[in-house]
């Protein structure tokens, strides 16, 4: 334990070498030279992140199954789901854009949610998930590419643009996306990679020599 608390830490933005200190709950340590946030003490990081992630996963399903909104023209109603929009763009020979939307709005958030659950659920039960460095890496690489909050703003902008000419009926997925944006933000805020690594290390050592 003393070994852990006296660990060294190098700032990821300026490489300044510092000593790891114990923080009060809810506080964060920042680099004295460049101001980067080094690490936080998020209380119950694993429990909270897991709770937000599982809730987000369910809402995510709803956001993708239900229509986002529909418009009505002379009694004809057309509704779209996110995947429907992706498919429609693919058929309009905008394959690269269709793929980009599919990856950033659907695949990246889905893989992110699955990876967090895969890592944290066993950890909560005191087990080490197989090939965990791979999943930690996946999370790190995917993090900038999940753009649910940007999509949410895009949905709102399209909504305003359409109300000029059409009667627009909001769908279930619209509310789901709003809730999903909040849940993902909460999960990201409570997730603490440093804690996860420390806990993985501790669990792994405990298993190696029982």
């Amino acid at each position: 334990m003393t070994d852990h608390t006296r660990q060294l830490i190098a700032c990821h933005d300026c490489d300044l070498l510092q000593r790891d200190i114990q923080l009060n709950p809810g506080c964060y340590a920042s680099c004295p030279r460049c101001g980067a946030v080094l690490y936080r003490n998020a209380t119950d990081s694993v429990d909270r992140t897991l709770a937000y992630t599982l809730a987000a996963a369910m809402v995510f399903l709803g956001a993708n199954v239900f229509p986002i909104f529909s418009i009505e023209v002379q009694g004809d109603r057309s509704a779209i789901t996110l995947f429907g929009a992706v498919l429609s763009l693919w058929d309009q020979h905008m394959k690269s854009i269709s793929l980009l939307v599919f990856l950033t709005a659907m695949v990246a958030p889905a893989v992110e949610l699955i990876s967090i659950t895969y890592l944290l659920l066993p950890l909560k039960l005191g087990k080490v998930p197989p090939s965990y460095p791979l999943f930690m890496r996946v999370l790190q690489v995917l993090q900038p590419w999940g753009m649910v909050e940007v999509l949410m703003l895009g949905v709102l902008v399209s909504l305003v643009k359409l109300t000029n000419n059409f009667r627009v009926i909001p769908g279930m997925a619209l509310w789901s996306f709003a809730v999903l944006t909040l849940l993902l933000a909460a999960a990201a805020a409570s997730f603490n990679a440093r804690d996860v690594w420390a806990q993985l290390d501790a669990t792994w050592q405990g298993q190696a020599k029982p």
């Binding site: 660990q7 060294l8 830490i9 190098a10 990821h12 933005d13 300026c14 490489d15 300044l16 070498l17 030279r33 460049c34 101001g35 980067a36 986002i68 909104f69 418009i71 023209v73 002379q74 004809d76 057309s78 779209i80 429907g84 929009a85 992706v86 429609s88 763009l89 309009q92 905008m94 690269s96 854009i97 269709s98 980009l100 939307v101 950033t104 709005a105 460095p133 930690m136 890496r137 790190q140 900038p144 590419w145 753009m147 940007v150 999509l151 703003l153 895009g154 949905v155 902008v157 399209s158 305003v160 643009k161 359409l162 000029n164 000419n165 990679a193 440093r194 690594w197 290390d201």
Partner: protein, 212 residues
């Protein structure tokens, strides 16, 4: 400035880019791996400046068709329009959607330009080993990193509108060729931001040079 700041690299210590564990790296060994997660260890991101330049130059070139070509075609019985990014914003402003016009302008015009100019400034200052206000430059980098994703906004709007408004002769919305160029600019500038190593901003304050 009395004593040089304690830098991990100048003590032969290397922070793992995956798990942040600080470990000693043997200078003679060609390849070193993190003892905790097994990732390759580097003192600095290899080829960071060159790759970042390549991505930025490609983005500058693609930025021209992204703005010159048609982003969205909208047609109805009454009117038919072909909008570039800028003319789309102007149209929104004229029709009274000021809020939306401002949001789209910031996301699709201001942010991509801010990213390109900021990264260019950072790369030039790093290559000249400038020691000018490193704290401000690091802040600028963090800002670029944080706002970059919001440029994707127009791509999502075009996708949703083009999918929805397919009601035969009544109205159509089509994504134009600028959408592809614009999407490429967003992706390339995001890669460029990830490729840049902010520690290079601080290295000129040290006497030694660090590689790899």
């Amino acid at each position: 400035m009395t004593a040089p700041a304690p830098i991990a690299a100048s003590r032969g210590l290397c922070s793992c880019h995956v798990c942040q564990l600080v470990s000693r790296r043997d200078q003679r060994a060609q390849v070193a791996h993190c003892p905790r997660c097994g990732a390759r260890l580097h003192f600095r991101r290899p080829g960071s400046v060159q790759r970042c330049w390549a991505l930025i130059i490609a983005s500058y070139i693609l930025y021209i068709p992204a703005n010159a070509l048609v982003m969205m075609e909208t047609g109805s019985l009454i009117s038919y329009r072909k909008d570039t990014i800028v003319s789309g914003v102007v149209h929104l402003w004229r029709t009274g959607s000021w809020m939306i016009a401002v949001i789209v302008f910031v996301a699709s015009v201001a942010i991509p330009l801010l990213k390109l100019f900021s990264l260019t400034l950072l790369l030039i200052s790093v290559q000249r080993r400038s020691t000018w206000s490193p704290r401000q430059r690091t802040r600028l980098y963090r800002l670029v990193e944080a706002v970059g994703r919001w440029s994707m906004l127009d791509i999502y709007v075009v996708t949703l509108l083009a999918a929805l408004v397919q009601l035969g002769s009544m109205a159509t919305v089509k994504a134009g060729p600028a959408a592809v160029a614009f999407g490429a600019v967003v992706v390339l500038t995001m890669f460029a931001t990830m490729e840049f190593d902010p520690r290079l901003i601080w290295d000129p304050l040290q006497k030694e040079e660090f590689h790899d």
